[in-house]
Amino acid sequence: MAEVLVLVDHLDGENKKSTYELLTAARTVGEPSAVVVGPAGTAAGLAEGLRAHGAAKIYAAETDSAEFLTPQVSVLESLVEQVDPVAVLISASADGKEIAGRLAVRTGSALLADAVAVSPTGVTHSVFGGAYIAEAKANTGHPVITLRAGSVEIEQAEGAGAEETVAVPASGRSATVISREPIVGGDRPELTEASVVVAGGRGVGSADDFAIVEGLADVLGAAVGASRAAVDSGYYPHQFQVGQTGKTVSPQLYIALGISGAIQHRAGMQTSKTIIAVNKDSEAPIFEIADLGVVGDLFKVAPQLQEEIAKRKA
């Protein structure tokens, strides 16, 4: 079967969840070969997980280079030339998108960015925050595909995972990394990966009152989100913004508190499976897409809901 290159996403010597999603998606188009770029010994540590998710080969490109992302691009570029894969799969993270774009420029490949599904004939995109579904295909060999995190259900499969060492070619001019500080995740799940999101809008009224949103989120094991209006008003930090100029989320359950539901916001959450909205204004557009809408005061409804859930858990 034809080879598919998968760039392994790893942190602190462990495969990220996105790596397993990529391997699962890769199996629908060919035989996955995992490409590991990192310091010596990285590939050996990741191999077991990669084999358990169907990696037929593991290419280990070991380097201590402080060059920023260009080693990954150069390794993939030389592998594309060497093995002529049917596709290259990379996660649609900030780094992944950049690596993919640069690779596509170098290999003259189609760039199919931010796909939500992959098939032998092409990919599916979710456009404008899920307002459109589009199918796209490559007009070149070895398309470079980035896959949106959380869009593929991980399935295990045994792979031979034979290790092969590959060289890291020199990559020309590059930025150099001086230091790295990985983000320190809080106790709450990551916003884009959470299965439940509780979000607050302008109706929350102040930064202090966001405690109401957080309280409900914590009893549900949910991530906290905020609308642009709330972020612009300084109630909550920007990295939690859901919407067109923030994160796109698609959880099982989305609870919107005091959010009017401007298109800006809906574009980031309208593909959520179940949407519950609490808003004082019965005309708020959020109610047009809510499975359950409560016209009322969030300061009364949310604490009561929190208490009910806590009671059920006890």
């Binding site: 774009g101 596509a104 949310a302």
Partner: protein, 262 residues
């Protein structure tokens, strides 16, 4: 220092955006078009760098897009940019990210001796978040992306790059490409004086030929990838809605139980 800012006109994110039925490209006529917010921040960053070195720098805005993208150019010029270059040609319609990066690289080639290329990290319409790095790759330049802080020290640029994964400090020798993130700054509003001055600033319009491009290198028909179908997702319909009568929270809890969500 010679600074170039890549900007893009996009549909207003507060409007309902559509794909055209005929060729699945962005329906640019269906929505209001604005200078992308992130590009305002890129222009602001350029102006601050210029002000920081006593005004010796020049700021040139580069865009690729239909004729009406001149509105986006005017906005950047009224903020304080000095000049603009506009690649405008019918043949560009439907160009993909790789074609766009190559075309922008060609246009940058017409701006003599630039030191720094600034851009937004991700456009609000395409959201590929890759074009600045792709342009850098075509030109063989370092790319320092998602900048939260930019500092120029002699012939070196230092950037604090912030993404969901954390903060990385990067450095490179100029010339280089830097893309800015949301936290870089708050863009200024154009002053009345700035708006008046913008009318007199030079805007060079380039056709494909002027930029040294061939029609076979760009456009929908020559794109490296094609959208084969697109359809609006059926809108989610409204479910049940009720007024809170003191038991709203309990009713939501009951709903969640019934839906097996808790």
């Amino acid at each position: 220092m010679k600074i170039v800012v890549l900007v893009k006109q996009v549909p207003d994110t507060y409007s309902e955006r559509q794909l055209s039925d005929s060729d699945h490209t962005l329906d640019r006529d269906a929505t209001d078009a604005v200078l992308d917010e992130i590009n305002e921040r890129a222009v602001e960053a350029a102006l601050q760098l210029k002000e920081g070195d006593g005004g010796d720098s020049t700021v040139t805005v580069v865009t690729m897009g239909p004729d009406r993208a001149t509105d986006a150019i005017r906005k950047a010029l009224s903020m304080g940019a000095d000049a603009a270059v506009h690649l405008s040609d019918e043949a560009l319609h439907g160009s993909d990210a790789v074609q766009t990066a190559r075309a922008l690289a060609k246009v940058l080639g017409t701006v003599e001796g630039f030191d720094l290329v600034l851009a937004g990290n991700e456009a609000s319409d395409g959201r590929a978040a890759a074009v600045p790095a792709m342009v850098a790759d075509v030109l063989g330049l370092p790319a320092l992306t998602h900048a939260r802080e930019i500092a120029i020290e002699g012939s070196t640029v230092r950037v604090k790059r912030e993404t969901d994964d954390g903060v990385t400090e990067l450095t490179a020798e100029l010339p280089a490409v830097v893309s800015v993130g949301e936290k870089i700054n708050e863009p200024r509003y154009p002053s009345f004086k700035g708006i008046m001055a913008a009318k007199k600033k030079p805007v060079t319009t380039l056709s494909l030929t002027d930029a040294g491009l061939d029609a076979s290198e760009v456009g929908l028909a020559n794109a490296l990838s094609s959208v084969t179908s697109s359809q609006p997702k059926p809108p989610k319909s409204a479910g049940e809605k009720f007024e809170d009568e003191g038991d709203g929270g309990s009713k939501i809890a009951a709903y969640l139980v019934a839906q097996k969500l808790i």
